[in-house]
Amino acid sequence: MKVLVAVKRVVDYNVKVRAKADGTDVDLNNVKMAINPFCEIAVEEAVRLKEAGVATEVVAVSIGDKSCQEQIRTALALGADRGIQVETEGGVESLVVAKLLKGVIDKEAPQLVILGKQSIDSDNNQTGQMLGALTGMPQGTFASVVAIEGDKAQVTREVDGGLQTVSLNLPAVVTTDLRLNEPRYASLPNIMKAKKKPLDVLTPAELGVEVTTHVTTLKVEPPAEREAGIMVESVEQLVDKLKNEAKVIA
């Protein structure tokens, strides 16, 4: 079984991102970039399926300019077998990402596609679901457990009320939640080996996809700041403030 994993290059999760003063965009100058944490979990899951003898090959795909090859190499160092970069200029919207991934899927015919449930930059949480629609595959979103049984995937999903388990016909799309697994660290020998693994570059035109724009960002700004609060000395004082000043408890 071939597994396709999508990875996105995003700002490292430790970086506190700020809007530029002129409000045109976020300030990404000299900011550390990394693989999106949810995508890292997706790679780990695919590699574990390979180690368990369920998957035969893991292909990592990223969409973006040449710099995203860094994140493909990270995926290869974590255990993916080969990489594909779909070359685009700048950011591409989720719907277009889904179309490009569908193009890759048409060529690669994977039985399982694993993506992160959202990227920590745009926080959209859409690409996997859109990919499901475009390919006609079922979707197991926000997955905390994935089990392959014959021609089906049993996926436990983290939903608002608790956990829901669904059975999906393969091929299927899975999007990862935080507790699906804990990704490993790439070892130095594996990082070196990853440099020699194959990495193909495709263009949207080769995949028959037109890169379109549906949503334009007009402005970015910092959120409303909370006013500084006060420190209280005791529980007694806290309860008094909540009752008589904030009036939020009776």
């Binding site: 608002d160 007009l218 939020v248 408890i249």
Partner: protein, 309 residues
């Protein structure tokens, strides 16, 4: 202008997030319809018909919609959708699961998690875990939108008198099946709808210690939440997680106990009206957003708080 709101429900009753979503639809203006898709969900349809500002309720009652499977529901939304300018759902795990799939079937983008309607095509939404607010404009002929419930004041659940129409549109994609669910059972209010929330973090040390918070919660009529650290550590289940990737809450009072205040947690609660932080580390970032901070050992302070209430 016309808007279709996908009802959030459990086949028995309408979930409050639907009322916040209708509020966002009201901000867009025009006719508002609600789509109730489920099985044996007539009572939800009746409830939806009473929601203020709604003119029509469509009820698709069929076993294929019983568990809100995205594969089936998105086909329904995509079939009913072309008659509307806007398709809205709450940004709950159901809305987030179904709407992007429906958007792709309609070949339009989705605007996720809006917090304000600026005009018919322009919206505000948080990005980068809420560190930045983006104003975005859609050029699609049809807008598919998920709504952050806490950002819109709920419309009245009563007072409307919409017509109810059964629709016989059955889509069974036949590619997925519901197997089982483990839902949290609690007498306390739902986290996203509670007036008061008390949450614990890594500082709670284990799951048993959450009983300290539960006791306070029961006195205040509060819901109990948790930080990602507490959920990842296995103290409590995932449905209690408050944060960027968990639940977004905005109660009147949020009490953070033993929570350091990571960006991703703050993203889920910083719109609360009053924030209280109890932490023994005086440098914890949570104090920067707290209205009232108390530097104390939670194992002393929480029982004291319990006794004082």
């Amino acid at each position: 202008m016309s808007t279709l709101v996908l009802a959030e429900h459990d086949n028995e009753s309408l979930k409050p997030a639907t009322l916040n979503t209708v509020a966002a639809a009201t901000a867009l203006g025009g006719d508002i319809h609600i789509l109730v898709a489920g099985e044996n969900c007539a009572s939800v349809g009746e409830e939806a018909a009473k929601v203020a500002g709604v003119s029509k309720v469509l009820v698709a009652d069929n076993a294929v919609y019983a568990n809100q499977l995205a594969e089936n529901l998105s086909l329904l939304v995509a079939e009913v959708g072309p008659a509307y300018d806007n398709l809205l759902a709450a940004a709950t795990t159901t809305g987030k699961n179904v709407m992007p799939r429906a958007a792709a079937l309609l070949d339009v983008a989705q605007i996720s998690d809006i917090i304000a309607v600026e005009s018919a095509d322009t919206f505000k939404r948080p990005i980068y875990a809420g560190n930045v607010i983006a104003t975005v404009q859609s050029s699609d002929p049809k807008k598919v939108i998920t709504v952050r419930a806490t950002a819109f004041d709920a419309v009245a659940a009563e007072g409307g008198s919409a017509s109810v129409e059964a629709i016989d549109v059955v889509h069974d994609a036949g590619i997925s099946a519901f197997v089982s669910e483990e839902m949290a059972v609690s007498d306390r209010p739902e986290l996203t709808a509670a007036e008061i929330v008390i949450s614990g973090g890594r500082g709670m040390q284990n799951g048993e210690n959450f009983a300290l918070l539960e006791s306070v919660a029961d006195k205040l009529g509060a819901a109990v939440g948790a930080s990602r650290a507490a959920v990842d550590a296995g103290f409590v289940p995932n449905d209690m997680q408050v944060g960027q990737t968990g639940k977004i809450v905005a109660p009147s009072l949020y009490i953070a106990v033993g929570i350091s205040g990571a960006i991703q947690h703050l993203a889920g609660m910083k719109d609360s009206k009053v924030i209280v932080a109890i932490n023994k580390d005086e440098d914890a970032p949570i104090f920067q957003v707290a209205d009232y901070g108390l530097v104390a050992d939670l194992f002393t302070a929480v029982p004291e708080l319990d006794a004082a209430l």
